[in-house]
């Protein structure tokens, strides 16, 4: 985000924050259910940095640890999904036989929501990290594999002909032409995938494990700490935004040639 666009970007959030504050202070919402922004900010601060006086809050100072738990799960699940999804997508897009064998199963399983897999994951993997990684990996896998397949199928026939004419064998065509040409699509899949990964980590941590932001969210809800719930929502939102921005920067770096095309 450029410095010039930043004021515009924060205008709407500020208005919404103000509206939220007014709604709470004017008692438009039932009292004691929705905390005021300032209350959320204070709780969030304590959650991150701990309290100077001995605090009764079990959340005090545990934010970083929980963020690390969730981020580690997202990263592992996402890397797993990419490691399987990208090569598989390339083969589905490139080879008609692989497409015929694998693609129908993927299309059949894809509409099953990640949440529906929860009981299955817990039954198979138990209340452990493996459960969470399975759900995150599976959720991120679909957009990655589908977009990779799409990108590979979209490869310009002329470029394939040009490569073969210049003496490229199947392996070179696949790595130097097909994969390169599919990269923009692959990055789209990765960005969608990391978004799903953050969704899946919250769902998984609410039920399948005992740590991380999702766990805190559900736990805080049970003990009536809506301020912590809201702070968790903000945390997940910011982490999701940050991970997407990182992927966006990487893709701009890798796809430099494409930015030039857009300006031409």
């Amino acid at each position: 985000m450029s410095a010039r666009r930043a004021p515009w970007a924060v205008a709407l959030p500020l208005v919404l924050l103000l509206l939220w504050d007014v709604a709470v202070s004017r008692h438009w919402v039932a009292e004691g259910i929705i905390p005021a922004p300032a209350q959320v900010a204070r709780s969030w601060y304590t959650w991150i940095f701990g309290a100077s006086t001995a605090s009764l809050s079990p959340y005090s100072g545990t934010w970083v640890a929980n963020v690390l738990h969730s981020a580690r799960r997202v990263l592992l699940g996402f890397v797993l999904a990419a490691a399987v999804g990208i090569p598989l997508g390339v083969f589905i897009g490139w080879n008609r036989l692989v497409a015929r064998v694998v693609d129908p199963s993927i299309q059949l399983l894809r509409p099953v929501p990640i949440t529906a897999w929860l009981p299955f994951a817990i039954a198979v993997f138990g209340i452990y990290d493996a459960s969470a990684l399975f759900l995150i990996g599976l959720g991120a896998f679909y957009p990655i594999v589908v977009n990779t397949t799409h990108g590979v199928r979209d490869t310009n026939l002329l470029l394939l002909r040009a490569a073969r004419m210049l003496g490229a064998g199947p392996a070179t065509v696949l790595t130097k032409v097909v994969f390169r040409s599919a990269l923009p699509s692959i990055f789209t899949g990765l960005r969608l995938g990391i978004g799903v990964a953050w969704t899946a980590v919250i769902v998984a941590e609410m039920i399948a494990v005992k740590s991380g932001l999702g766990y805190v969210l559900w736990d805080a809800y049970y003990v009536g700490r809506m301020d912590i719930c809201v702070a968790t929502m903000f945390s997940v939102g910011l982490l999701g935004l940050a991970s997407d921005q990182i992927l966006l920067r990487v893709s701009r770096l890798v796809l430099r040639w494409r930015a030039l095309e857009a300006h031409a």
């Binding site: 310009n156 002329l158 470029l159 002909r161 040009a162 490569a163 073969r164 004419m165 210049l166 003496g167 490229a168 064998g169 070179t172 130097k176 032409v177 390169r180 040409s181 990269l183 796809l255 430099r256 040639w257 494409r258 030039l260 095309e261 300006h263 031409a264």
Partner: protein, 254 residues
Amino acid sequence: MSTVSLRAVSKEFQARADRVLAVDGVDLAIAHNEFAAILGPSGCGKSTVLNMVAGFERPTRGRVLVDEQPVDAPGPQRGVVFQEAALFPWYTVLDNVTFGPRTRGVPPGAYRPKVEGLLDLVGLRGFERHYPAELSGGMKQRVGLARVLVMEPALLLMDEPFGSLDAQTRSVMQELLLSVWERHQQTVLFVTHDIEEALLLADTVVVMTARPGRIKTRIPVDLPRPRTLETTTSPRFNELKRQLLGLVRQDALT
């Protein structure tokens, strides 16, 4: 150097339910070092003929031979320059030009001097690090030509390579091609719908008719070489042009 011969070549395409005959019984022979132009209206199957010689497509009937060997796959001994340059957009000019030698495992030391000479020849010195998106249409075609010439192909196949360029750039590219060809004397098969282009460049103009594509006539171009843009103003050039115009127009009307 290389010879091309097509013997009773036909090509059908599957279009929805029915089959379309794109090329019908084409017999064509191109000699060593000959510059042959295939001239015809769009959709007459001239690009299909070129694609079969390149090895991109196989004939439905008949045989396509290059140096008496049947063509069964594309390869670097038959260099193709496409209408849209078909450069790899993720590679720089230099990486595009060196794609062929790098792919075949030629050590950089072996191709580097040749590449530098070629970049000089096509006027791309100083643009080595540019991406195709940063180049004009004419420059893209120069890269397309250079990446093929670096393979030193015995046969050069060109599919309306200057068709999408503006008139000025097209003339410059035609003169460039003439100077390249006069130096290296490859066998060339050049597809175009531009009568003047065919006459300026070729030793032989093969006129094709449309739907299905058949060869109508073959006209030797007896204009002296070396040729330049000046050639297009000579009386003989205009005589040949009139003759070809008649042939092409006659076909367009039927």
